[in-house]
């Protein structure tokens, strides 16, 4: 097992490198950079004083260097003006727009993003699991059709609109304040039961909104897997031995169909994180979504780059976790993984 974990971690290194390179290329794509845009603006207004400072910043961040050198400095694999100081050394870069280190800008947002996504994954599992089993064991019943229809609708409504509408009605019916992750009264207050409760109440809408399409897909796959298993010979054997339906279901087919359920987290996560970004913008949640949007439109490249990298790494780690869980659950995977190397 340990060997498998180490092996998986090693495989991740080139993936992460490739992702960081891709991210860097993407944030470099727009012509110019934040500082040269600022300089052009200052120059057009005839203010010479600020330009010198910006020039200093430009050399400080190596923006006058070729792109691959900038990338290496950003990564921390090449000595910049301050020696090796990049992502690898824990320096996440500098946000030009906020004139603060990126770490200070995103700070709490990262934690909230992780909490939001973890809550959504939990929601997807908790909802999809019983419904999937119900739909598979009572195929073609009214309930099955109903859930299928609901799933299709969940797939078809754009996330952000569902968010807006739900937010409106939650506000109207339950008096939950609009936007944010907690009641305005609790902001900057120490943690208490009330605050925790408020955060939970505010998490409901985004979690439902982000999770719907993922849940719909998950139900469909669990249903299909379970239906496949239920047709197999061993189920017939077990039934003829006189096992009760419930015991039969729990004992064999359900366990078999759990595998894809966990492996699916790889398909699920990119979608969820995509969803959390746009839903955060619409619902004004203090996650990194709105920050990313701002950073992208103002070409605050290190901030945008770090957030892009962060969401990608979050996905990759989610997949790692799902792989490891699978390996715990199903020894065959572990063995075949070792055999192939």
């Amino acid at each position: 097992m340990l060997r498998y974990i180490v092996q998986r971690l090693i495989v991740m290194v080139p993936t992460l490198l490739a992702i960081s390179l891709l991210t860097f290329i993407i944030i470099q794509l727009p012509p110019g950079d934040y500082l040269s845009n600022q300089m052009a603006e200052l120059r057009s207004r005839g203010e010479a004083a600020g330009i010198e400072k910006l020039e200093f910043l430009r050399t400080q961040f190596g923006l006058d260097k070729p792109w691959w050198e900038q990338y290496a400095v950003w990564l921390g694999a090449w000595p910049g003006p301050d020696g090796f100081s990049g992502l690898l050394q824990g320096n996440w870069g500098w946000s030009f727009e906020y004139s603060k280190p990126v770490a200070d800008v995103v700070g709490d947002g990262l934690v909230l993003t992780i909490i939001l996504n973890a809550a959504t994954v939990l929601f997807v599992y908790v909802v999809a699991f019983p419904i999937g089993i119900y739909s598979a064991t009572r195929q073609y019943s009214w309930g099955d059709y109903g859930f299928t229809l609901l799933g299709y609708i969940g797939l078809a409504i754009p996330n952000f609109l569902l968010g807006l509408v739900l937010l409106y009605y939650f506000n109207k019916w339950f008096g939950i304040s609009v936007g944010g992750l907690m009641d305005p009264d609790y902001i900057d207050q120490p943690w208490s039961m009330g605050k925790l409760w408020s955060v939970m109440a505010h998490l409901i809408v985004p979690v439902i909104v982000i999770g719907t399409s993922g849940t719909a897909g998950m139900i469909r796959r669990l249903r299909a897997n379970l239906l496949d298993e239920l047709q197999k010979q061993y189920v017939v054997t077990a039934r003829s031995k006189g096992l009760t339906e419930r015991r039969l279901l729990w004992k064999y087919p359900l366990r078999m169909s759990l595998n894809p359920f966990i492996a699916d987290i790889g398909n699920l996560l990119p979608g969820l994180i995509s969803g959390s970004v746009i839903v955060s913008v619409v619902l004004n949640l203090p996650t990194i979504g709105p920050v990313l949007l701002d950073a992208l439109s103002s070409q605050d490249q290190y901030l945008a780059g770090f957030i892009l990298l962060f969401v990608a790494v979050l996905t990759v780690f989610g997949m790692l976790v799902s792989d490891l869980l699978l390996a715990v659950l199903d020894p065959r995977i572990r063995l075949s993984g070792e055999a192939s190397t």
């Binding site: 993407i26 609708i153 970004v277 945008a304």
Partner: protein, 389 residues
């Protein structure tokens, strides 16, 4: 069993009809039709049984068929605005006025200032009957960029207005703008899927046919792209489109971006099928006869699972349409004057829209319907893709 005692000798019986040695194997005309049918015909038969998919397919066909005639179908021009009616609510369509049949008509608005909300309240004035006109002259436009024309399917009464879905902040007719948006929103998916299809087949084909290092490079690319969340990447890429591009270039850029990130799924399907099929005898035969890889792949291998590919491509169009809608909604996608459903929804970003003028959100109805239709249609296609099962 005993023989009859007074048995006469049985007559020698010969059937005068001509003898057909294959009689037992002949098929009824029905069976014959079935066994001789081409693959595509069988797919159609199978698809036809899927009623929901059939209806969805027809719906999409009608929508796509209407694209060239947008200017005629829309009541007003894209930029026509009436500053007398800002954020006016939808007008209901009536047939009878005071028990008398008038034909389809609407009541005119009466505007009253509301001093509490500082807005204009528009109410229907039931004395002002405005019968609709059909195939009539209205706003001028340039048909297919060729000739000037002004014929519309439906027009308001002379000096009247017809806003079946209300108006927006600037007094544009929502209905007409949704009709214009159809053109953009639907084509985004088509162009995007074409790009993704080309990339997917090429890369997947190369990987599956050659194997070896090409395969591992493509595999790694697929893995990395699939592990990235799409929307942030779409956001970043569309933010990278130069500001000074014309709206039409932006439109093309966005479709390319949508297509660029979508191919891994297709490529993976092509690759795994090709890996299996290239070992088949007929593929070897084609190679031995001197066919070049391109011909072997395109002519001998791809047709085997083209139907599957088309089905899965259909299923990935909705995500592109939703992607475009999301990007435009956030203001990083298409830019006016190019109008898509997402651009229209951009106006509905705050809660006051839902509270005071919910009709601003009406573009979400076509979005939902099209996405559902594509999903049902794609499911039907997928089931029909293998008619021999």
């Amino acid at each position: 069993m005993t023989m009859p005692t007074d048995s006469r000798k049985l007559d020698h019986y010969v059937n005068p009809e001509p003898f057909d040695p294959y009689q037992a194997e002949t098929l009824t005309p029905e069976q014959e039709r079935f066994y001789l049918a081409s693959q595509w015909k069988m797919m159609w038969w199978k698809f036809r049984r899927h009623k929901l998919a059939l209806v969805s397919g027809l719906f999409l066909l009608v929508l796509y068929g209407s694209i060239p005639f947008t200017e005629i179908i829309a009541t007003y021009g894209l930029e026509t605005r009436n500053s007398d009616y800002l954020l006016a609510p939808p007008q209901r369509l009536h047939l009878f006025h005071e028990g008398r049949f008038v034909g389809p008509f609407v009541y005119g608005y009466e505007a009253k200032p509301n001093l509490e909300t500082f807005r204009w309240d528009y109410v229907e004035n039931s004395g002002d009957v405005q019968p609709l006109r059909f195939l009539c002259r209205g706003d001028a436009y340039k048909m297919w960029n060729l000739w000037n024309w002004d014929v519309h399917l439906v027009c308001p009464a002379e000096n009247g207005v017809f806003y079946p879905l209300g108006t927006d902040r600037l007094g544009h007719d929502m209905m007409s703008r949704i009709v214009y948006g159809t053109r953009i929103s639907l084509t985004v998916g088509l162009i995007g899927i074409t790009i993704s299809f080309l990339i997917g087949i090429t890369l997947g084909g190369l990987a599956g046919y050659y194997g070896g290092w090409i395969d591992s490079v493509v595999q790694r690319m697929i893995e990395i792209l699939r592990s990235l969340p799409e929307l942030p990447l779409w956001l970043a890429l569309s933010a990278a489109l130069p500001v000074n591009w014309s709206p039409i270039l932006i439109y093309l850029g966005i479709t390319v971006i949508l297509g660029l990130l979508d191919w891994p799924g297709l490529a993976r399907a092509v690759r795994s099928k090709l890996l299996a099929l290239r070992e088949e005898d007929y593929a070897t035969a084609a190679v031995l006869m001197g066919a070049r890889p391109k011909r072997v792949i395109a002519r001998h291998l791809l047709p085997n699972f083209m139907s599957h590919l088309i089905a899965s491509a259909t299923l990935s169009i909705p995500s592109m349409i939703l992607g475009e809608t999301a990007l435009s909604f956030l203001g990083l996608g298409l830019r006016p004057p190019i109008t898509s459903w997402g651009v229209l929804l951009n106006e509905a970003q705050n809660l006051s829209a839902i509270e005071f003028y919910p009709w601003i959100m009406s573009p979400m109805i076509p979005v939902i319907m099209v996405i559902l239709a594509f999903n049902f249609f794609g499911d039907g296609l997928r089931d029909a893709a293998d008619p021999y099962k």
